[in-house]
């Protein structure tokens, strides 16, 4: 949806989302988790095993950003605020940004950037394979998040392609579940699963009722 189309759909009172500073503000907010991690590294606040803490924290933030971006459309519809659509692409790219940091942390801290070791690890550990698959799928979405790509694909195809994010949500939860399975500790997994289920369930219901 282009900005012009959104403006056309707007009610008369101007939505905060259309303020010129709204996008930069959301951009800065989405960078705060990164800032907090950099702070924690610099001031040695990550405990005894900072490398592991970073791998986990970037994974957590990937999941959180995924929840945020999937909440955009339900919020837009439920609150009647078409302006929210302006943030969707940027937030989607932030999901990819944190996933990329997560992958880099794992590759660097856990695997010493040894490509052969990483390849072996992907083959050996199903939860790594699932996580890596989600990354590959998201790469496809990130690479088609430019105006020219959308034009080239055509709006309908582009939209269809980007529904892959629902599959990514499933893979992300499976990845997290598998990681926690060793300790049989699923409290956090259930929270994220519930949020994602709610966000995807809302879409499913809407589709059925159409």
């Amino acid at each position: 949806m282009t900005s012009a189309a959104i403006v056309g759909l707007l009610p008369r009172t101007k939505h905060w989302g259309l303020h010129p500073l709204a996008k930069p503000l959301v951009f800065v907010l989405a960078l705060l988790p990164l800032a907090s991690l950099v702070w924690a590294v610099v001031f040695d606040q990550l405990g005894a095993n900072p490398a592991q803490a970073l791998v986990r924290a970037t994974g957590d933030w990937s999941l959180r950003m995924l929840c945020v971006v999937l909440a955009v459309t339900p919020l837009r519809v439920l609150t009647g605020s078409p302006a929210l659509a302006r943030f969707r692409r940027m937030l989607g790219l932030f999901v990819y940004f944190y996933v990329l940091l997560h992958l880099l942390s794992y590759s660097g801290f856990d695997m010493g950037f040894e490509v052969a070791d990483i390849a072996k690890d992907i083959a050996k550990r199903p939860f790594i394979l699932v996580g890596f698959s989600a990354f590959v799928l998201l790469t496809g979405l990130a690479l088609t998040s430019f105006n020219r790509a959308i034009k080239a694909l055509g709006g309908k195809n582009w939209q269809r392609l980007h529904r892959v994010v629902y599959l990514v949500a499933g893979l992300a939860i499976l990845h997290f579940y598998w990681m926690r399975a060793a300790k049989n500790d699923f409290a956090d997994v259930l929270v994220y699963a519930a949020v994602l289920l709610l966000l995807l369930g809302w879409r499913a219901l809407r589709f059925i009722n159409k």
């Binding site: 590294v41 005894a48 900072p50 490398a51 690890d121 550990r125 300790k183």
Partner: protein, 332 residues
């Protein structure tokens, strides 16, 4: 009578009976001073080794525990000792929660006094042994061991205790005893993690009798010159430095001598992942991850490559013969 016979048990003097603490500490300061080069280059090398062996400072968190120098081969690693703040806050002690930070947060509820350890099974002298008696059973020594967790990280920890063999000799196992089972405390009132479905409680570990008799197998009461903090398995625990950390049970309440291999906690939870032996072995991977490398906590920087894991955690010269002829891939 002043002369004591062997059967009465010779009570070893502990270091603190001989050397006052302040004198002992000032001697350490002197060595450190020498190590910095003030005493000349010739002595600095020797002093450097001495200072390195004592490169940690008593944390002052628990009561001090007197200990003597050990004469057990391989029992004094020269590697840099892990900082106490890390060793006492990054723990796996599922009875207090599965997060590494949980034990330090939750273990304060553990009541370590009074404490008894029940010795039972195939021994001539079974019975309940009070902690006070166990503390005095043999001279406590300082042992600086590498600790390798099955999860792929490691520490270097100065423990205080004595060889478990001292206790085993005292209780006289029968000829039929082949294994030793270690049962740890499972008190749902003081341990919030007991009841979690991750493991069967109580946590049980075991060793073959010859492994338990090995001089490196330590019955530890302290670390960093002080009584064990609760999150590290107070008031007494096992330390088996050539096996993955989970083999070293914490807060022991029962030691049982048996003729069959004990059913150990992690083995029961996932037999394909955690074998009875669980010797540190870089060539036998965990089904879900490699065991070839490890991260030394607090030492390997964020961007440092992980270090190579050593066979039997570097204790191959001391313990390798225990497993001569065994297929370690099969008996992992």
């Amino acid at each position: 009578m002043l002369i004591k016979t062997q059967s009465q048990g010779y009570v070893h003097p502990v270091a603190s009976d001989i050397t006052p603490l302040t004198v002992y500490q000032s001697r350490r300061d002197l060595i450190r001073l020498m190590a910095t080069g003030a005493a000349g280059a010739a002595l600095a090398t020797w002093a450097g080794r001495e200072a390195l062996a004592q490169s940690w400072v008593a944390p002052g968190q628990q009561a001090a525990l007197a200990r003597a120098k050990t004469s057990v081969a391989g029992a004094l690693s020269m590697e840099k000792v892990t900082e106490y703040k890390h060793a006492s806050t990054y723990n796996n002690f599922y009875e207090f929660g599965t997060d590494k930070a949980d034990p330090a947060r939750n273990a304060h509820t553990l009541k370590t006094s009074p404490w008894t350890v029940e010795i039972e099974g195939l021994v001539k002298k079974p019975g309940r042994y009070a902690l006070e008696d166990l503390l005095k059973l043999s001279a406590q020594e300082e042992r600086i061991y590498r600790l390798r967790c099955v999860e792929g990280w490691s520490m270097v920890i100065p423990w205080v205790g004595y060889s478990l063999s001292e206790l085993i000799k005292r209780v006289e196992p029968l000829g039929s005893a082949k294994y030793v089972e270690f049962v740890t405390l499972a008190d749902p009132k003081t341990m919030p993690g007991v009841g979690a479905r991750v493991l069967d409680w109580p946590y049980v570990e075991g060793l073959r009798l010859d492994e338990a008799m090995h001089p490196l197998t330590l019955l530890a009461f302290g670390m960093y010159g002080e009584v064990l903090p609760k999150q590290s398995g107070a008031p007494l625990r096992l330390v088996v430095p050539w096996k993955y950390g989970f083999k070293s049970g914490k807060s022991l309440v029962k030691i049982r001598f048996t003729d069959r291999q004990p059913a150990t906690a992690w083995n029961k939870a996932a037999a394909s992942e955690y074998g009875f032996y669980s010797n540190v072995n870089p060539e036998v991977d965990h089904p879900r991850w490699s065991q070839a490398t490890e991260r030394r906590i607090g030492e390997d920087g964020l961007f440092a490559k992980k270090r190579k894991t050593l066979m039997f955690n570097g204790y191959e010269a001391q313990v390798g013969q225990l497993y001569a002829g065994m297929d370690l891939k099969k008996y992992f």
